[in-house]
Amino acid sequence: MNEIIKSVESPVNPNIPALRSGDMVRVFIRIKEGTHERTQEFKGTLIRIRKSGNDGNFTVRRIASNGIGVERTFLLRSPRLEKVIVDRHSRVRRSRLYFLRDRTGKSARLKQKF
């Protein structure tokens, strides 16, 4: 990428480890409510990651109550992103895990990688 464009982009967040598709992650985001700030946690499976400077983002999918899937996309360089914790890696054979959307319960599990 162009050096001038790189120079105006935000620095890499040191609290985000190397992420891969299939990781079980906990994402901590700062949320502004009126005047005070709090941190919210979002826990799920990372199904997609796109690393591209300031536009880089990743999508986390989790199953909310009643078995409804919720996906949330975060910007990797966003100042609102406090930290990301990887709980475990999974053995996956593709980078975009969209097939998880069609699966529920037992078939939606991923094999752990040690």
């Binding site: 162009n2 001038i4 464009i5 120079s7 105006v8 982009e9 935000s10 700062r30 502004k32 400077g53 300031n54 536009d55 910007l75 360089r77 966003s78 100042p79 609102r80």
Partner: protein
């Protein structure tokens, strides 16, 4: 005061504002520009400032161009553009840099759009084309009827139809300046700007606000 610059489009990215929101930004490498000539009402019938941008080797310019710049000992410049300004407050030979703008200002940006070649009416004017089904053939992107019947018996001039698209002058109004870096002659505006990367742009103070 003169508020105008000539620059080159660097490219687009997004940056985060104070609230943590991502803002789309076009970066422009603008200036340093030099005032190469002043247009005066007494002499030219209008008042404007001619700015020059883009230093080059002297041998890249013709003798006439060099002579024009030499009058006020300005380095050889590739591009010259005029900015209409009633009260410029500058004189020939002055340097104009990005710090004429500050973040929060609004500007108009003029550039040359990307050329699309000879384009059909669907792409060029957003015509809907013909139906895909019901026995149609070769009608999918057709422009349809272009005019009336025996009267007037011809297609009026200027009717929308296929033809050359792009590669013309485009002005984008009311772009917010979000970033100014005087050290690197860099200016960032919110949103998109006409033309390809490396294309020449004119940045002016807003006309309508």
């Amino acid at each position: 005061m003169l508020k105008g610059l000539i620059g080159k489009k660097v490219g687009m990215t997004q940056i985060f504002d104070d609230d943590g929101l991502a803002v789309p930004v076009t970066l422009i490498e603008a200036g340093p520009c030099y005032v190469t000539q002043l247009r005066l009402p007494e002499q030219d019938g209008y008042s404007a400032v001619q700015l020059g941008f883009g230093e080059v080797k002297p041998k890249r310019l013709t003798g006439g161009q060099l002579g024009h710049l030499k009058r006020s000992s300005i380095p050889p410049l590739r591009y010259l553009r005029e900015f209409r300004e009633k009260d410029p407050e500058v004189k020939e030979g002055d340097k104009v840099t990005v710090d004429v703008f500050v973040p929060g200002d609004f500007v108009d940006v003029i550039g040359t759009s990307k050329g699309k070649g000879f384009a059909g009416a669907v792409k060029r004017y957003g015509f809907r084309g013909g139906p895909k089904t019901h026995g149609q053939s070769d009608r999918l992107r057709a422009p349809g009827s272009r005019g009336a019947g025996t009267t007037p018996g011809r297609v009026y001039k200027g009717a929308k139809g296929p033809g050359h698209m792009g590669n013309h002058r485009v002005t984008i109004q009311n772009l917010k300046v979000v970033l100014v870096d005087a050290e690197r002659n860099l200016i960032g505006v919110r949103g998109a700007v006409p033309g390809a990367k490396g294309g020449l742009l004119m940045i002016k103070e807003v006309r309508k606000q």
